[in-house]
Symmetry: C2
Subunit: 283 residues, 2 copies
Amino acid sequence: MELWFAERHTQNVKFSIRVDRQLYSGQSDHQRIDIFESKEFGRFLTLDGFMMLTEKDEFIYHEMIAHVPMAVHPNVEKVLVIGGGDGGVVRELCKYRDIKHIDLVEVDPLVVEVCREYLPSVACRLDDERVHIRHDDGLRFLRSVENEYDLIIADTTDPFGPSEGLFTKEFYGSCYKALKEDGIMMNQHESPFYEEDAITTQKIHQRIISSFPISKVYQAHVPSYATGHWLFGFASKVYHPVRNLDSVSWNMKGISTRYYTTNLHSGSFTLPYYVEELLKNVE
Amino acid sequence: MELWFAERHTQNVKFSIRVDRQLYSGQSDHQRIDIFESKEFGRFLTLDGFMMLTEKDEFIYHEMIAHVPMAVHPNVEKVLVIGGGDGGVVRELCKYRDIKHIDLVEVDPLVVEVCREYLPSVACRLDDERVHIRHDDGLRFLRSVENEYDLIIADTTDPFGPSEGLFTKEFYGSCYKALKEDGIMMNQHESPFYEEDAITTQKIHQRIISSFPISKVYQAHVPSYATGHWLFGFASKVYHPVRNLDSVSWNMKGISTRYYTTNLHSGSFTLPYYVEELLKNVE
């Protein structure tokens, strides 16, 4: 038998993974949730048919969104993760003993439940005593928060459907307000290559720079995402992502990673010319 | 009508591009050659059904294999390109006025002919008076050459079929011999993610380090290649690819690029930890 999961990266490009079995399929109040088992990518999670993560390459995305700010900010104690119900970002953050409190605001309780059951290598630290899970809309949660977090990580789905509100000027402004005076906000920034995606990347950047004095974009190679070229945003009140990187102190912590290194950290902020231009056009 | 070109990146992963028309299909003594027209990637060339280049993203591969050595070596006058019958590498090299002579050794005359006709934006500089095209096997051509070139670029297909001999110890040894005392050899180095590809990457690296005192690997984002994560090799007798990068002098030349920058140059040599380990295992 041949069973293939296919995702349209554009109307004219399709990426397909051969599937052994569908392990789970359900519908929450927010979205359709599926878990598949595959030989090449291990288990993978889709929401409304869109690839969220695979066991084989999720380390890339999660390490790159979590360790970059942690190697820059000298003293992160309180973190807010918006989205990220799979637990991958939380798993990476839990590697830091200095972090005292993590709020995870995931709107969909079923995502958390399904990932706990089917993706234990990702969800494994959701039970850490420092982690506090709230099922609420990220934007609504933020409205009542001020001067509270050292770090906010917006680990969202693409900017339509349930996550649409998490890519607005209001959202980035609320993050700014919720951060302490030297806080950092991280976000997934989509891919720069296909035209429609490039426009989305521009829009996100434009909105973030109107809220934060420092806003830089960096990249990683994520094979299961469209084009494999994925961008992340580093927005900050004080710290510069490369000039304030403290490699010595990060490497002293002995954090184990498979993608992130402090060398790669600096390298990942050097962008292709066409991506630089794309971002400059809205600066 | 829906017409899709599909390539198996592994037995269990498929990448598909919707095609408007097949513009050309032919069989040479060496391989099957096809040209397709597509909305998302423009025209693209396949050899024996494997993606070689697309109009939309070929600039990435060609710029990254050509400009990296040109920004390091202080005085490239004579270059050998092995493979590269599409003309993309030659087009980038022809941007340098200092280069006096380019030998292009492409085994298959039909590739050159087809690219001249269907991919003029790639093949456009094959008629430059400095370019000398020879239809010969790369390895055979090299046997009689000694101390001749400042730069050799091995712009080959994957390491099976017609290109198999261009990934052997003998080939790298012959390149070493054909280079002047401060020469540089560049090669495409496959992708590090899928297991089979990772093993190929390792083998190539192992063979190159046995011939060259300096051998470094760097990366780029090429959407139409497997996983989008593509590696290149920089092998050299004297120059280090990052320490000997002369950004000022390269930027003074006013070479126009869409992907390469001298900042990106340095960044592209910072590899993910798992790729570093893959390479270290054979060093």
